[in-house]
């Protein structure tokens, strides 16, 4: 388990790059950390106004329902979008100093997780404003987050290393993510999808993760732990494959960048 020892030795680098990432983002902006709220709020406003207009639904408290899906989705898509740039962005350091390269995707996912935690306060705010209250099941939040975090680590390892060799994959990833947004029950519920197409959504791991968050905050019930267990297992498998691929590809990063 050389990987973990190496990462442990470089823990300070992980910490400082997470801090740099979070701090650097707001260093020059007038509203600072408030952007963590303003951006998703605007997005929520747009979806909350548009979707009930164009898609009839009989979901109670639609805004809360949607927010429970939208915020975790933004976390997911931001990580993957940024992962496809992270090596190119840091090309200068990669070419000049040795450090375990996997720290870059790892600290990216971690700093976005911190951002997600901040913007999760919005979910809480919406739940409370709508008078839905919070149940004891909110304590299961870390389990759902863990499932998503592991999945993201694996995907970020793959995306960050492959894009070094295929630069135009970045644009492709953007389009695919947009497509996936609609193939995940975020702005609608699974039930409105005709039976014969539902399997598409059921193959999408994000469906279960968002279901998890929704169970906690919207339905106020225990998320399906067995399902989350499967997602965590898949996430670990993706991470192992991702790491092996990353390790193979990273040997030529300095030459390709």
């Amino acid at each position: 388990m050389n990987v973990f020892r190496n990462l442990y030795n470089y823990r300070e680098l992980i910490k400082t790059s997470v801090k740099k990432d979070i701090g650097g983002k707001y260093k020059h902006s007038f509203l600072g950390v408030l952007w963590s709220f303003i951006n998703p709020l605007l997005q929520i406003a747009v979806y909350a106004i548009i979707f009930p207009l164009i898609m009839k639904n009989n979901i109670e408290n639609y805004t809360v329902f949607m927010v429970c899906g939208l915020i975790p989705w933004t976390y997911f898509s931001t990580v993957l979008n940024r992962a496809s740039f992270v090596m190119i962005e840091n090309g200068n350091i990669i070419k000049k100093v040795y450090f375990p390269r996997e720290i870059l995707p790892l600290s990216l996912v971690t700093s976005e997780t911190v951002n997600f935690l901040i913007s999760s306060l919005l979910i809480l705010a919406f739940v409370l404003i709508n008078g839905m209250g919070i149940s004891i099941y909110a304590l299961a939040f870390p389990i759902v987050l863990l499932a998503q975090y592991i999945m993201l680590i694996g995907l970020a390892l793959i995306f960050s290393s492959v894009t070094v060799y295929f630069r135009d994959l970045q644009h492709f990833i953007g389009v695919v993510l947009q497509l996936f947004f609609y193939a995940t029950p975020i702005v609608y519920s699974l039930e409105v999808i005709p039976e014969q197409f539902r399997w598409i959504l059921l193959l999408n791991p994000m469906t279960y993760i968002i279901d998890g968050y929704r169970d906690i905050f919207y339905n106020k019930e225990m998320p399906e732990i067995s399902m989350l267990g499967i997602i965590i297992a898949i996430g670990i498998a993706v991470t192992i494959i991702g790491y092996l691929l990353f390790n193979k590809l990273q040997k030529r990063f300095a030459e390709e960048l």
């Binding site: 030795n9 470089y10 823990r11 300070e12 680098l13 910490k15 400082t16 790059s17 740099k20 701090g23 650097g24 260093k27 020059h28 200068n92 350091i93 990669i94 070419k95 000049k96 100093v97 040795y98 450090f99 295929f166 630069r167 135009d168 994959l169 492709f172 040997k251 030529r252 300095a254 030459e255």
Partner: protein, 246 residues
């Protein structure tokens, strides 16, 4: 343990090829459309390099431009990997290939010390212990809390050098940076490196400054067209090198 750390760097039958693309297809689109465009030429930069650097040695790598010195140094730091062969490094290694790699312009000098030192693998506690020493060496006491984008290139260099030299590495690799800074700081750097050498730090320099090579190193390796031309006592190798390249 003693036996294990006797050899700091072992390079065995190392070859390094670079692919030189004339017009590189860097995207899937180009790879599909212009699959025949990937015309490339392989350049052999290092050929069958064998060398062992012992604990506490100070070695100068000399040679004309393009002889593979910097490539060899990059291989030792694991920034790039050999095409064939094996390199073993025992101990913590710090490299100064370019000063200030990884500095973040908007952060203060102090924050950058933390960031830069952590790239070299130090923990928070270790950096805390060295912070005063680093600031003192850099002579930037009055500016240390200003963002580094306001620094002059000399100040930038001093800070970067101060960090790298204070991380207490077992092995220090330096690529052609003794030529920066004013005379006063240059002398300070050379003195510091002498001090490190006395403390038993293993050092490898790439340099064109034969004078400082003679001053600092007890062994020199002359690379020529990717091969070791001569390896031995600094004076001898440098004399021979000057004679041949005249």
């Amino acid at each position: 343990m003693q036996k294990k750390t006797e050899n700091r760097i072992i390079v065995e039958h190392v070859y390094k090829n670079f692919n030189i693309y004339f017009d590189k297809a860097n995207s899937i689109k180009e790879k599909m459309l212009f699959w025949n465009r990937n015309k490339k030429e392989t350049r052999e930069v290092l050929k069958d390099i064998n060398l062992t650097i012992k604990n506490g040695e100070a070695v100068a790598l000399i040679g004309i431009n393009g002889s593979g010195k910097s490539t060899l140094l990059k291989l030792m730091t694991k920034i790039i990997y050999p095409t064939k062969g094996k390199i073993t490094v025992n101990g913590r290694l710090t490299s100064l290939l370019e000063l200030g790699a990884g500095f973040h312009q908007d952060f203060s000098g102090r924050e950058n010390i933390y960031f830069n030192a952590s790239i070299f693998g130090l923990t928070k506690k270790q950096i805390d212990e060295r912070l005063d020493q680093i600031i003192e060496f850099s002579e930037l006491q009055d500016f240390i809390d200003n963002p580094v984008r306001t620094y002059s290139s000399g100040m930038f260099m001093r800070l970067a050098f101060a960090v790298a030299i204070n991380v207490d590495a077992d092995i220090l690799l330096v690529d052609e940076i003794l030529s920066v800074g004013d005379a006063h700081f240059q002398e300070k750097c050379i003195n510091k490196m002498k001090e490190l050498k006395e403390q038993g730090t293993t050092m490898v320099f790439v340099t064109h400054n034969l004078g400082s090579a003679k001053e600092l190193c007890d062994r020199a390796i002359w690379l020529n067209k990717g091969e070791i031309q001569l390896d031995g006592k600094t004076d001898k190798v440098i004399d021979k090198y000057i004679e041949e390249t005249k």
